[in-house]
């Protein structure tokens, strides 16, 4: 285990990413403490620039505290990101495993299905889904999961295909192990690394998707999220630039951190690949 952390720590960017991520999670967790009450409550006069009346990042068109909005919004973004990723993983891993391990007709069918989903413009589909099922937290999570699972299925399928013909899996067959035992004890543990790396990148994409949907007005109307904050600041950008700038920085930092962590995980789990990525001998 300590080997893993040592390899992870070698990538400075990944360490920075992890720190940022922990900070964001902390803010999300302690939001009700730092900013008690609801972020929808009026906290001061509208359109106050940053720093006035005790509001660090200014206030919006209805006098709400932008900083409180960002802190509470962190919870929504992280929650949506995590849950939709888990859902997408569940679908993607299952389909990919079926296609990769069974091969033949099952593989063909799953691949056609996956290709279809990758061809259709995913964001448009997400918009359509949320619009039709009315925007709520669950419809947003559902829509994001539906458009995010194809890359997982592809990666898992590729891993399973390659592992299935690996000699230690063949040895397990010759030993007489059951199919389930082979998948669980031989294939899965060796397929986990790319899945873990992919998962961290998927949370980042999910957060971007969720903020884009909220920006367009398709977020859950009861939840204050970063995308919503930016969307509400759009029409008044000339007079209240801080409404759009700060939530965007929050999104940027979180997504950046997730990407850095993803790369760090990749290096830590696949030391050989790390060398080719960096070009070191």
């Amino acid at each position: 285990m300590s080997d893993f952390w040592r390899r992870y720590a070698r990538n400075k960017g990944a360490v920075v990413g992890l720190v940022i991520l922990i900070l964001v999670a902390l803010i999300a967790a302690t939001a009700p403490l730092i900013f008690p009450g609801s972020p929808w409550d009026m906290a001061g006069a509208p359109f106050l620039p940053p720093g006035e009346m005790g509001m660090l990042l200014g206030s919006d068109s209805l006098g709400r505290d932008v900083a409180a909005g960002i802190a509470h919004g962190a919870r929504v973004s992280l929650l949506v990101g995590a849950v939709s990723t888990v859902a997408a993983l569940a679908v993607g891993v299952t389909l990919g495993a079926i296609a990769g391990y069974l091969g033949g007709l099952a593989d063909d069918l799953v691949m056609r299905f996956t290709e279809f989903f990758q061809t259709i413009p995913s964001f448009v589909l997400a918009i359509l889904l949320v619009a039709i099922f009315t925007p709520t937290l669950s419809s947003v999570v559902f829509a994001i999961a539906i458009v995010s699972w194809p890359p997982v299925a592809r990666v898992v399928r590729a891993e399973f295909l390659s592992l299935r013909s690996r000699e230690f899996v063949q040895a397990a067959e010759v030993l007489g192990k059951s199919r389930l035992a082979i998948v669980v004890t031989d294939i899965l543990p060796n397929a986990l690394s790319p899945i873990i790396v992919l998962a961290s990148l998927m949370v980042a994409t999910a957060i971007l998707l969720e903020s884009a949907l909220s920006f367009l007005g398709l977020g859950d109307p009861n939840l204050m999220s970063w995308g919503f904050l930016i969307g509400s600041g759009r029409s008044v950008i000339r007079i209240a630039w801080w409404m759009s700038v700060f939530p965007g920085i929050a999104i940027f930092l979180t997504v950046l951190a997730l990407n850095l962590v993803g790369e760090g995980l990749s290096d830590a789990l696949n030391p050989r690949l790390a060398r080719t990525r960096g070009g070191k001998a």
Binding site: F123, G227, V245, L256
Partner: protein
């Protein structure tokens, strides 16, 4: 690929494309019926849902009291004859609305894609050639930053910077309203309006292509045939161009095809921020009014764009890579 096999290849890919489009039409159909509430009110959209006469007319037109498979057939027939429905709110056929706005979106996505590919591949190549140097680190960091920033926020920041604070470039619409320009002056005017939206949409994908190109160039550079080229005494520049780059571009082409769908989706956000008169903007307005027929029409139109683009990239790949055999 052997040139004589080209027509067969195109035919097979064409059939596949049609099947995909059919599946999308069925998808649309299912969505209408999966939505909560009366399908007629979904088809009518929020504005039309109040008009009882219109609803009755819709029910008859779509045969909503008939068995499901008949409805499906009617719907597919409709779309196949390019009848994409009617927007009650805008009082126009959806097809007309989409056809009006499509060129603007094509211009925007085309410009963004061109920029993304050229800048991205150039940056990625540079980074790979100078791997480990400060130039490489700078490009990698820049790419990561562009990749992590939300598209719509970049647009807003550019509006803020160039439109509000510096006032160098126009930030709304495709042309200066009421100017009635033509010829070269028109081109320049559109170009000035196009600059920021195309940059916004393109930056994210520039980052994607830069990272991808860098990774594949490094991977290819490690392969045996590159060493063979050096052993022959081929100068480094030619090794990079003829041997490494050509082979590294193959995954980039494949990836471009896969990314096409997302590029089109990103256009919605960019057109909203910059009030660019394309189908993305149309979708946003339809969204606000819950005008479902228009939304579905946009979904279909964008799918057609993506399928067509994928066909092109497949063709390009097959032309470049002689190993691609004629298969399904």
């Amino acid at each position: 690929m052997d040139p004589s096999k080209l027509p067969g290849f195109l035919l097979r890919r064409g059939v596949k494309a049609v099947i995909v489009l059919l599946a999308i039409i069925v998808c649309n159909f299912l969505l209408i019926h999966a939505a909560p509430g009366d399908p007629a009110s979904v088809i009518a959209g929020q504005s039309g849902a109040a008009d009882e006469k219109f609803l009755a007319q819709l029910r008859q037109q779509f045969g909503l009291d008939q068995p499901l498979h008949v409805q499906l057939w009617l719907y597919v027939k409709g779309v196949a004859t390019l009848d994409l429905g009617f927007s009650h709110r805008q009082q126009q056929p959806v097809l007309l609305l989409v056809a009006e706005r499509l060129p603007a979106t094509l211009l925007l996505t085309g410009a963004a894609f061109g920029f993304a590919v050229l800048a991205g591949v150039a940056m990625g190549t540079l980074a790979a050639q100078r791997v480990g140097s400060w130039a490489d680190s700078l490009i990698t960091v820049l790419a990561l930053a562009c990749y992590a920033t939300p598209l719509f926020w970049v647009g807003l920041m550019l509006v803020l910077l160039f439109g509000v604070w510096l006032e160098w470039l126009p930030v709304f619409g495709m042309m200066t309203v009421g100017a009635n320009l033509s010829g070269f002056a028109l081109v320049v005017d559109v170009g000035r309006h196009l600059l920021l939206p195309a940059l916004t949409l393109g930056l994210f994908y520039m980052a994607v292509y830069a990272r991808l190109t860098r990774a594949t160039m490094l991977e290819v550079a490690d392969q045996d045939f590159v060493k063979t080229a050096r052993a022959k005494g081929v100068p480094e520049g030619q090794v990079t161009r003829r041997h490494i780059l050509r082979n590294a571009l193959l995954p980039v082409i494949t990836f471009a095809g896969i990314q096409a769908g997302q590029l089109v989706g990103g256009a919605i956000l960019v057109e909203t921020v910059f009030a660019w008169p394309g189908i993305g903007r149309l979708a946003f307005e339809a969204l606000l009014a819950r005008d479902y027929p228009v939304l579905m029409g946009v979904f279909f139109a964008t799918s057609v764009m993506v399928v067509a683009f994928n066909l092109l990239t497949d063709l390009l790949y097959a032309v470049i890579d002689p190993r691609v055999e004629v298969e399904g």
